[in-house]
């Protein structure tokens, strides 16, 4: 059995290459979040005497994802909590999508009718997705910093002294790199371990379960870390002095 790593089914438009499986899985994850959000709006607004299970789940998710930014920045974090909570929820859903064996189940039941069903990995197992997320964070940090402090925001680049300018620029550039590589490495590493484990035995049903459980844990922790680090970066951008 050959193991292909970093291979994506690609579309070619206008001389550009699009990784079709990543685009499809991102769209699936986004539409799931959209449907969940609309459903949550209808379930939560209806105030009943007893709280339904759906409402409890929504409140838990909302409270946790908002508490990431507000726990660090306090009441100042309210302005940024929607951005950080969206990042957290998207990355969590994307990582969990990689753990669920959705395409395997489709292939198991409908494989005799269709052939060539693409294998959908988590969107975050493609480095293009994580780099896009990290670049969003990178530009958002500077946007929030300039918005909060005006032109004096750029003083932080020469903060103790003009000599530290290259060091500060390097620090700013290493942030999106580490964010992207951390998320990609964890998701991709889990997927690769699973692929190698499954290829070792002929009847792979029970034995990848511990790795799947670890994958769920990693999915949550990586989404939390991404959101928390974004919060720290935003907090350092809008704060006065070090």
């Amino acid at each position: 059995m050959t193991i292909e790593i970093g291979q994506h089914a690609a579309w070619h438009f206008f001389g550009l290459t699009f990784n079709s499986d990543t685009i499809i899985s991102s769209l699936v994850v986004s539409s799931f979040i959209l449907v969940f959000a609309v459903a949550a709006k209808f379930f939560v607004i209806k105030r009943n005497k007893h709280i339904s299970g759906m409402q409890a789940v929504c409140e838990l998710l909302y409270g946790f994802s908002v508490s990431i930014s507000e726990g660090v920045m306090g009441s100042k974090g309210k302005k940024y909590s929607s951005f950080i909570a969206s990042l957290f929820i998207f990355i969590l859903a994307a990582n969990v999508f990689g753990v669920l064996p959705i395409t395997e189940i489709i292939e198991l039941f409908f494989g005799k009718y269709f052939s060539g069903i693409p294998k959908l990995e988590a969107p975050t197992a493609d480095i293009n997705t994580t780099v896009a997320l990290a670049l969003t964070v990178f530009f958002a940090i500077h946007f929030y910093g300039v918005k909060a402090k005006g032109i004096s925001y750029f003083k932080r680049f020469i903060s103790p002294n003009i000599v530290f300018l290259p060091l500060n620029i390097m620090e700013e550039l290493s942030r999106p790199l580490s964010l992207a590589v951390r998320l990609f490495g964890n998701t991709f590493g889990k997927a690769t371990i699973l692929l190698i484990l499954v290829s070792l035995v002929s009847f792979p049903f029970i034995y990848p379960i511990p790795i799947l459980a670890l994958g769920l844990f990693i999915a949550f922790v990586q989404a939390y870390i991404f959101a928390l680090l974004t919060t720290f970066y935003v907090a350092s951008a809008i704060s006065d002095g070090h």
Partner: protein, 83 residues
Amino acid sequence: MDKVMVQVVSVVSAAFCLGIAGVAAALAQGKATASALDAIARQPEAKNSITQILIVGLAIIESIALYALLIAIVLIFVNPFAR
């Protein structure tokens, strides 16, 4: 140089890269966790903030091992010298 030789060297160096980085990251993470446990044992009421800082610190330490993983992936799958 011979292409096969380059590939052999790439695989061996990828293994060494990930091995050494794994040892370093594991030592660092163990030290960080041990210190955090000490701090929690000394001051249990600060558990939440210590845990938050610990998780961020572990993530930053882990990125060292993940940079090594990235270099290993590049060396094995998309090596520019073995083309």
